[in-house]
Amino acid sequence: MRSLLRCTRFLCALVALGAPVLAQEGTAEINTGDTAWVLTASALVLMMTLPGLALFYGGLVRSKNVLNVLMQCFLSAGIVGLLWILVGYSLAFGTGGSLIGDFSKVALSGVTMDSVSSNFATPPRNIPEYVFIMFQAMFAIITPALILGAIAERMKFSVWVAFITIWFLVVYCPIAHMVWAPEGWIFKSGAIDFAGGLVVHMSSGFSAMVTALFLGKRRGYGRESMPPHSLPLCLIGAGLLWTGWFGFNAGSALSASPLAALAFLNTGTAASTAVVAWAAVEWFHRGKPTALGGATAGVAGLVAITPACGNVSPLGAIYIGIGVTVVSYTAVTFLKPALDYDDSLDVFGVHALGGAWGALASGIFAVTYGSGINGNAQQVMVQLKGILFTAIFAPVVTLAILIVLRLIFGSLRVTDEDEVEGLDFSQHGENAYTA
């Protein structure tokens, strides 16, 4: 979704990329094709979390921790799904100021069957606001869940529950507002973030990094081998993520329009390119292309194209896919050992840096610009501002949350014994597999 201008209020650019106007006059007509596509896209984005991400991450941990990972995803769907209706939507998309929304739409007050949101078709058309709310809900659900990859196999479940609740309110909602609401300052600056490079991937990825550092490494990290317990689960997850990502990116056009089609095409193209590029790099560097590499590459390609998918050409998508391979491969292969942090499932290398690259590349390869921007150089500068802000804001606030949580919970980690025995049993009283 979205960058820049509110078409019906400002002017209508050739490719309209405005924030949705929420008209409440009750007489606005909705477009059924647009509505059909955004309904579908919303379902696809839920599938990305449940079961997509749950599997992608769940397959990568040891079998004694897989249920814990799955539950972290389910609870994100539970807590954030509920909070979104109660207060999150209002904080993110309520009018408010340039930093955060307000409480005007708490518990969806004022939203009725007649409320509509304007979309990014040219000229803009309407979809029911309820659809927009749910499409956005699915974004809100997946974002905190992405963080778990960095803290897997060691965080207390109670801490997780508290953490995502607070993080959602004080990190996600403000960033979503700043970037996607017409009042948000990043939005107003003309930054491009079509489907959430800043809002989703950088915000979660940089927060994940600081959380991983704060928590410390898994017991035995570096000494024992901790291979994925089921790569097939991981690859199923990657496949479902890929499928669902079409809803994520093309759905962000909020319309069944040529813009959605372009976003769709760029999404697939960047992912395909990254898979090929990553396999080539691994083959060259390690002698063999790995399956985990294939899955990681697909996801990295999808992350990087996310902010850019509505504003670049198919060739741009190819460059972005190649670029993210370089960035993320380097990060997980060289940067991680060099910095010696334990980001269990590489959220930083893939989402934080992949998202940052995508946000930058949105400027470099843009063929349509944000509102008030005239050219790639200017767009790149604006993008950098958004990237920098997110890369500082998200981890700093996350750090504050973690400090508070440590005051409340004592240790944020399970005991050593529980960690050895596995979080499935210690946190949930269950085992994943039996005969």
């Binding site: 081998s225 390690r286 790995t290 985990l292 991680k336 590489d346």
Partner: protein
Amino acid sequence: MKKVEAVIKPFKLDEVKESLSSIGVQGITVSEVKGFGRQKGHTELYRGAEYVVDFLPKVKLEIIVKDDIVQKVVDAILKAAKTGRIGDGKIFVLPIDDVLRIRTGERGGDAI
């Protein structure tokens, strides 16, 4: 009576079983084990990280036999399980005090 235990490479199981069958062995108990030995483990790659896998998959056979055919059994295994490459495995012979067949309660040689 003796218990012959053999740790072999998994893909040799079928050959060894057939070879034992052909010399009249009527019962074998098999388990999946992991072996650590002179054969060095391999290295697996996971997202750039390398894991050295020390333990290699092996199969363990346990066969109870009368004393007089111990040598025949050992020879059969030696022949069928051998590839000549490191990691082919070991055969151990252990003493046994008694054997019983649960179904019939038979004891000793008859129970094998």
